[in-house]
C-alpha cells in the first residue's frame, strides 16, 4: 500500500462495531469530503499513521464527535472535587506551587550533606535522597559485593552514624525529605526517625516520603532482597507504624517511574502502578488497618516522558481511576483517600549522551507536562545524566528549569488549562480505558503478586521496550542527535566520584564496630530475628537495632536469615 492510500484510509468512518465508533457532524463530514480529501490527494501527510511515543494512534483532528455522551460535571467535576480530573486542590498552583524536589546523592554522607545544603540555598523546597547500590541492596559499604559500587549511584549509608552526618544541620522538623529506598526501606526510615528524635523533632509533625514500593522492584527496577510475601509484610509494617507514630509521613511512593524507564508504554505505566496501589490497599486492609486511616498517606510517583499530551492525559486519568477504585471498589468514606497525590520526574531514559545540551530542552518540555498535569512535586533531570551523576552546574540548570516554568511562563495562573480540549479529554478517556483493561486482567490473575510471579507485567514491558527500540532503529521514531540530526561534539565535563569513598567508608565502619557495644547490637539483632519468625510488626525491632548502631547489612542479614532471598526467572 502506498503512503498516500494509507494516509487517506485514516479518515474512513469506523464501522458500527468498532470500539472507537465515532459519529461526526454533517459539517465535519463536509469538511473531510470537500477540504481534506482533495488536499490529501495532492499532498499526502508526512506519515501514514500518527502515534504517541507509546504507539497510541492519534487522529488528525478531535471534535465534539470524539466525546459522545461526555458530561463535564461527571468526567471533570471541579478542582479539589471528585473525580479530581482537574486536580486534587481547589486552587492548585495558584494557591501553592509544587515542591521542587531534586534527587541528590553521591559519595559519602558528608559529600551529599553538602549538596543538600547547596540546593536548599538555591531555592529548592524539599530534599530527595539517592542511595548507592550497596545501600539499596542492603549491604554495608565493606561487603565484598559492594566493591566498585560504593558512593557511585548515590550516597553510601551503612549505619545510623552515616545518617547523622547526612542530615547534619538540616532541621528535619522543617524540611520534607524523600528517600528513594525500597527493599531496606524500613531500616533506612528507622535511621531517619532516630536522627529526627535526636534533633528533637516531633514525629507527629515531621513529613516526607519513603519510596518503599517493592512491587515495582519485582516488575521493573529489580532491586529486591526478599521474596514477595515477607517484603509485603515489611511494607505493611511501615504503614501500620506510620498511622500510629508519623501521621504526616508518606510511608510509600507507589512508582510508575521505573516501570516507564524499563520501557513500558504510558498505559502500562499507569495500569501497573495503580494496580500496585490497589495491592497495597488490599494487604493493608487484610492486616486490619482502616482504609481511611492509611490510604490518605499513600502517594504516587509518575514519569514525565516526551509525548506531551499523552503524559498530561495520563496524570488526569490516574486521578479519575484512583477515585473510582477507592469509592466503588473499597467503599472508602474519606475524601483524603480518594485524591491521588503524585510526585513526578522527567524521563531519564529520554536523555541522550549525544548533544547533551539538548537534554535541557527535553527536560523543560517534560516538566511542563507534569505541571499541566497537576503534579504535587517534581524532579527535573540534569543534562549530563546519560553520562554520570550530575555536576553542580548541571543540577542548577535543572532546578532553574522548574523555576522558569513556575515564575515566567504563566502556566500556573489557571487550574487545568487543557481541560475541555477535545483532544486531551479524548486521550484521557482512552488512557483510562486502556489502564482499566489491564487492571481487570491482573485482577483475574489473582492480583499483582500473582501476576508478577507468572512474569506478566515483566513480559508486557519487555515487549513494549523491544518494539520501541526497533522503531528507533528503523527511524520510525526520531531521536534528535541520535538517529537523525547527528553532529560531532566535544566531550562534556562530568562529575568524578572520589575513588577513596569506599576506603573511607570501610574505615568508618571498622571504627563504628569497635566503638559500639557489640553484645547490645547482637541482642537487638537476635530480637529482630525472633520477631521476623512470628507475626509482629517489625518496625520497633528494626528501630531498636538501628539505635544500637547495628549496621544496615547486619539488620538486612538478620531478616535474610528468616525470609530467604528472591531470584527472578529472567525474561528476555
Amino acid at each position: 500500500m502506498s503512503e498516500k492510500s494509507k494516509a487517506t484510509t485514516q479518515t474512513a468512518p469506523p464501522t458500527e462495531s468498532s470500539p472507537g465508533h465515532r459519529e461526526s457532524s454533517a459539517k465535519e463530514k463536509a469538511w473531510e469530503k470537500n477540504t481534506i480529501q482533495p488536499i490529501l490527494e495532492k499532498n499526502p501527510e508526512r506519515l501514514a499513521e500518527f502515534t504517541t511515543i507509546s504507539g497510541l494512534p492519534i487522529r488528525r483532528l478531535y471534535t465534539k464527535a470524539d466525546l459522545p455522551n461526555w458530561d463535564p460535571d461527571r468526567e471533570l467535576g471541579f478542582p479539589g472535587q471528585p473525580p479530581y480530573t482537574r486536580g486534587i486542590h481547589s486552587t492548585m498552583h495558584r494557591g501553592r506551587l509544587w515542591t521542587m524536589r531534586q534527587f541528590a546523592g553521591f559519595g559519602t554522607a558528608e559529600d551529599t550533606n553538602q549538596r543538600f545544603r547547596y540546593l536548599t540555598s538555591q531555592g529548592q523546597t524539599g530534599l530527595s535522597t539517592a542511595f548507592d547500590l550497596p545501600t539499596l541492596m542492603g549491604y554495608d559499604s565493606d561487603h565484598a559485593l559492594a566493591e566498585g559500587e560504593v558512593g557511585k549511584c548515590g550516597v553510601a549509608i551503612s549505619s545510623l552514624a552515616d545518617m547523622e552526618v547526612l542530615f547534619d544541620q538540616i532541621p528535619l522538623a522543617n524540611v520534607t525529605t524523600s528517600m528513594t529506598i525500597n527493599s531496606p526501606a524500613a531500616v533506612i526510615w528507622a535511621m531517619y526517625l532516630a536522627v529526627a528524635e535526636k534533633q528533637g523533632a516531633d514525629w507527629k509533625k515531621i513529613s516526607g516520603t519513603l519510596q518503599n514500593d517493592i512491587l515495582k522492584e519485582y516488575i521493573a527496577q529489580k532491586e529486591y532482597i526478599y521474596p514477595p510475601a515477607p517484603s509485603m509484610r515489611l511494607v505493611i509494617d511501615t504503614f501500620e507504624f506510620g498511622v500510629k507514630n508519623t501521621p504526616k509521613f508518606n510511608p510509600i511512593s507507589i512508582s510508575g517511574y521505573h516501570i516507564r524507564e524499563a520501557g513500558s508504554t504510558a498505559i502500562q505505566e499507569l495500569a501497573f502502578t495503580l494496580r500496585d496501589g490497589l495491592e497495597y490497599v488490599e494487604w493493608g486492609m487484610r492486616r486490619g488497618l482502616d482504609i481511611d486511616e492509611f490510604v490518605p498517606q499513600l502517594s504516587f510517583f509518575f514519569n514525565a516522558h516526551n509525548d506531551f499530551f499523552e503524559e498530561i492525559a495520563k496524570y488526569r486519568a490516574a486521578r479519575r481511576i484512583w477515585h473510582k477504585a477507592m469509592v466503588e471498589r473499597y467503599k472508602s468514606k474519606n475524601p483524603r483517600s480518594w485524591a491521588l497525590r503524585f510526585h513526578s520526574q522527567t524521563a531519564g531514559c529520554s536523555l541522550t549522551a549525544q548533544q547533551p545540551f539538548n537534554n535541557v530542552v527535553r527536560t523543560a518540555i517534560q516538566a511542563l507536562a507534569a505541571v499541566l498535569g497537576g503534579t504535587q512535586s517534581l524532579h527535573t533531570n540534569s543534562l549530563d545524566e546519560a553520562w554520570a551523576l550530575p555536576t553542580e552546574f548541571a543540577a542548577t540548570i535543572a532546578l532553574r528549569t522548574q523555576q522558569i516554568i513556575a515564575h515566567e511562563t504563566g502556566v500556573t495562573n489557571t487550574v487545568d488549562p487543557l481541560g475541555g480540549s477535545y483532544f486531551v479529554e479524548t486521550l484521557t478517556n482512552e488512557i483510562e480505558r486502556g489502564a482499566s483493561d489491564y487492571i481487570e486482567k491482573i485482577d483475574a490473575m489473582g492480583g499483582m503478586v500473582a501476576a508478577i510471579e507468572r512474569g506478566y507485567p515483566q513480559r508486557e514491558i519487555a515487549e513494549a521496550s523491544y518494539r520501541y527500540q526497533m522503531a528507533v532503529d528503523r527511524k520510525e521514531k526520531i531521536i534528535v542527535g541520535v538517529n537523525d540530526f547527528v553532529s560531532e561534539e566535544k566531550p562534556l565535563e562530568i562529575l568524578q566520584i572520589d575513588e577513596t569513598v569506599a576506603h573511607r567508608q570501610s574505615e568508618r565502619l571498622r571504627k563504628l564496630r569497635a566503638d559500639r557495644s557489640k553484645s547490645e547490637a547482637d541482642r537487638r539483632l537476635n530480637a529482630l530475628r525472633t520477631a521476623a519468625k512470628g507475626n509482629e510488626n517489625l518496625m520497633p525491632f528494626i528501630y531498636d537495632a538501628v539505635k544500637s548502631y547495628a549496621t544496615l547489612g547486619e539488620i538486612c542479614d538478620a531478616m535474610r536469615d528468616v525470609f530467604g532471598t528472591y531470584e527472578e526467572v529472567a525474561i528476555t
Binding site: 557511585k152 553520562w387 528476555t572
Partner: protein
C-alpha cells in the same frame, strides 16, 4: 554444511538491576540468528567467566550502568585469561564516561557501546569481529 551459530553470553554484573538494555540486546542478537544465553542479574566476574567457559561462547556482552565498570572489567578479563579464554570477544554497553574508554580497551575489551547505539551496529560489529578471529 550449515554455518555454526555465534554463541553470545549477555551478562549483567554488579548490583544494578536496570536490565532494559541487556534484555533488548539479548533479543536483538537472537533475532539476528545468534545463540544467546542471558545470565540474569547480579553476576560476579567469577560467575560470568565460569558461564563463558561452560557455554563455550564466542562473545560476552556486559551491560553496566552503575559506574562499576573500572572494577568489574579488569577482574573479568584477568579471570578469562587465567581460564585460557583468549579468543572470546568481550563487549561492554552502558553508561561509560569517555575518559574511561582507553583503559578499558587496554584491558582487552573489544568494543564499548554507549547510549544511543542501534542494535544493528552491535550485530554488525559482532559479525565482523567473530568472522575475523
Amino acid at each position: 554444511m550449515p554455518e555454526k551459530k555465534i554463541r553470545v553470553l549477555i551478562a549483567k554484573p554488579g548490583l544494578d538491576g536496570h536490565d532494559r538494555g541487556a534484555k533488548i540486546i539479548a533479543r536483538a542478537l537472537r533475532d539476528a540468528g545468534m545463540e544467546v544465553i542471558y545470565t540474569g542479574l547480579r553476576q560476579t566476574p567469577e560467575m560470568i567467566a565460569s558461564a563463558a567457559v561452560q557455554e563455550d561462547v564466542d562473545v560476552i556482552g556486559l551491560s553496566i550502568l552503575s559506574g562499576a565498570h573500572n572494577t568489574i572489567c579488569p577482574q573479568l578479563m584477568k579471570l578469562l585469561h587465567d581460564k585460557g579464554m583468549h579468543d572470546v570477544t568481550v563487549l561492554v554497553g552502558g553508561i561509560i564516561p569517555e575518559a574511561d574508554i582507553p583503559a578499558l580497551k587496554q584491558s582487552g575489551i573489544a568494543g564499548i557501546f554507549l547510549p544511543g547505539t542501534s542494535t544493528q551496529d552491535i550485530i554488525e560489529f559482532i559479525h565482523k569481529r567473530v568472522a575475523h578471529s
